[in-house]
């Protein structure tokens, strides 16, 4: 299993309209995964819709690649 930890301290709006903070972003086996600080994967109605702010851990050039990856 390959894991790339690409962002932390993500402040985002989810599909159901709720706002979450302290989310982490990963690329796990070529899938984009967002997890809350408790480790909950944000999916379905809790899928990340809009990111308001984030701290990026990877070179900016990789973000266009990550953007292209499907959410889990």
């Amino acid at each position: 299993m390959s894991v790339m930890f690409f962002a932390m301290d993500i402040n985002a709006i989810l599909e159901d309209g709720t706002e979450v903070t302290n989310v982490k972003g990963f690329v796990i086996d070529n899938k984009k995964v967002y997890k809350t600080s408790e480790g909950t994967i944000l999916t379905g109605t809790k899928k990340v819709k809009t990111i308001i702010s984030s701290t990026i851990l990877v070179p900016v050039e990789l973000l266009s690649y990550i953007k292209n990856i499907e959410n889990e």
């Binding site: 299993m1 790339m4 932390m8 070529n30 984030s54 990877v58 953007k67």
Partner: protein
Amino acid sequence: MAVNRTSRIDEIIDPTTGFVKGTNRYIGGHQDLQTFKRMPIGTIYKGGAFKGRRQRKAKVSQNIQILDESLENFKHPNSNLDVAQKIANTAETVPIIFGKRTNNIGGVWMQPSLIKAGTDFFNQKLIYVISQGDISSSPDKAKAYAGLKKLIFLEDQSITVNHLYSTAATLATTPNSCPISGTGLYCGNDIYSYLSEILKPSGSSLSRSPDRAVEFFDRRTLTRGSGDTSNTTFVMSLQVFDAETGANVTTAYQSYLGFGNMQFIFNARYDSSFNLIGGKTVGTIESAAQVLGIGTTLIAPVTGSSLTSLQGVSNGRTKFIFKHTFVSLDTQTNVSNPASTGTLEGVQQETIIGTSATIQNTSNDNSSFADITFLATTGNLYEQPSSGTFPSSTKQLYIFYEQGVKVDLFSAGLTGSSYTVGASNQFIDLAMYLFKIYKKIDGNNTAAIVAPVELSNLQNLSSFCTNNSMFFNGIISKAVNIIEFISSVAPFYLLSFLSVGGKYQFAPILPINSSNQIDTTALTPVATFTEANILPNSFRKIYLNVEDRRDIVVNCIYTDCIPTEVARRKTVSVRFTSSSLDSPTEQYDLSEFCTDVNHSILYAKYELARRKHSTHDIAFSTPLLTTSLIPTDIIKLELQRKNSVGDDRTETNYYQVTSITYDNNGISSIQASHFPLDSNDIAEISKEITTGTFTVLQ
């Protein structure tokens, strides 16, 4: 009515006078102010005296030829070794390294041009052009310098140096194979690697983004600094600019990415639960492709709707410049641990750009790499890499080769039905090699009749060169005319390169004996000419200018070549001991090929002896069959000298034939230089060279 038309101007005007034929009307060129004669049509009147010389017009479409002949293109090390590495120019001539060190003399030091540079996991990868052909010696980092520093003593002890060579036959069969694969560098101009500016915990830095619409890439990061940085991270902001227009497109780019307001944390280290636990230690390298689990392949460009979104950032353009600006430094990222005590210089990024996921594009035709020896180095030749494909403060590489390019050894003669192949220091082998690479010699056919050069005396002449320490250890770095090159260099080996009966031929310019030594015994002229076989009124005698006969000091430049030090040029001065110390100096440059001072001294003696003893040249015509006579042969002239006051005697002189021209009416015209023999028929020039008294200053 009949009309006569005349279309050629020389039918109207007398070209020598400028007058209309049959008239006194002048419509020609200017009048010569000194002779007051009309100048022929087409003559350009250059104007009066007392004028400075006008600047010459530049040559058109000759840039590479000008570069070829420039000092900058010399592949021999110059006096100043502490210079920047020379980057190969497009269409620069690939040099030929020719030589062989024997008896601790010879070999070749060269300063190659850098043709490719890159970085692979922050290890410098450099490729230099060494020579056309296959170099016999292996490169040795103990005999190589980067500037003034020997490679073997550089800080990076892991440096390696290797040759890369592919034959024309190999690349003809597999033109898509890359001869430099495995070096960390790649064939093709669109596959390359480079270092970006270090992202520092201060100020700002710029980096060029891969073109995400077309380029495959990998991005690696290296933590640089000193001491303990295991708890240090720093934060930077980002601005994005259109690489073409320079417009700030930060907002549009952030919107395209969809990560909101971004800040970037660098050097962060986290645990297996992805909690931030500090900073990376100095020397840590991380590859994005490896972290993503795609191994050594490159990250693909964006496609589909993502590409459309990217193109929406700045009117379809997809090349951007990223500017990171320092925001904050945290030396105690993990408050549970003590603050870092070391200094974090920053994080350096290495980018690999390719045209396919597998990096090396296998559809490239790499035939242009054929029959060239390249030198590949791995490791940090330059101690402070900063940014770009290699550091901005480079030092010229110098490398020594005991043995140069492998050639057919004509000097050793046929072994069975073929020539042995190996390095050589024989000028004759070089000449034959030049014919071979120019496809004038069929390597598979060794029959003498198909060779462009007379083969029968090559071994003897090579022995003559060996006996007199006349070896070739040098570099041909210019695109030369083969015949001109061989003809110009041959005299420095006391040889002449002749065209005889439709074939080229080497001949010694001094008679040699059966032991292939300079002959100092009595000579027998090849032919004798008298009034009986010299056509009337054809004999001409021209005495050499006094300037060409006065005592001089001959100064020869040669290359002092030892494996432990980059070669230096030296001079040796030779004069007759009887000549004054301050006689005018004439200089001969043998430094491109001569590494033995004895070779230089011998040539200097030849020049001095020839000037001393050869007083004049002659020319005459003869109906005598002279087809066996060739230039360099010694002939005898016996002429009857009579004058009005009763002088009547036979004058005998000896000459060395310099040219023979055959007319279709059966007449041969001969030119020759005075080549005196003493009363014992021994050549004065040869005797002077071998037994004369010279003073040599080294």
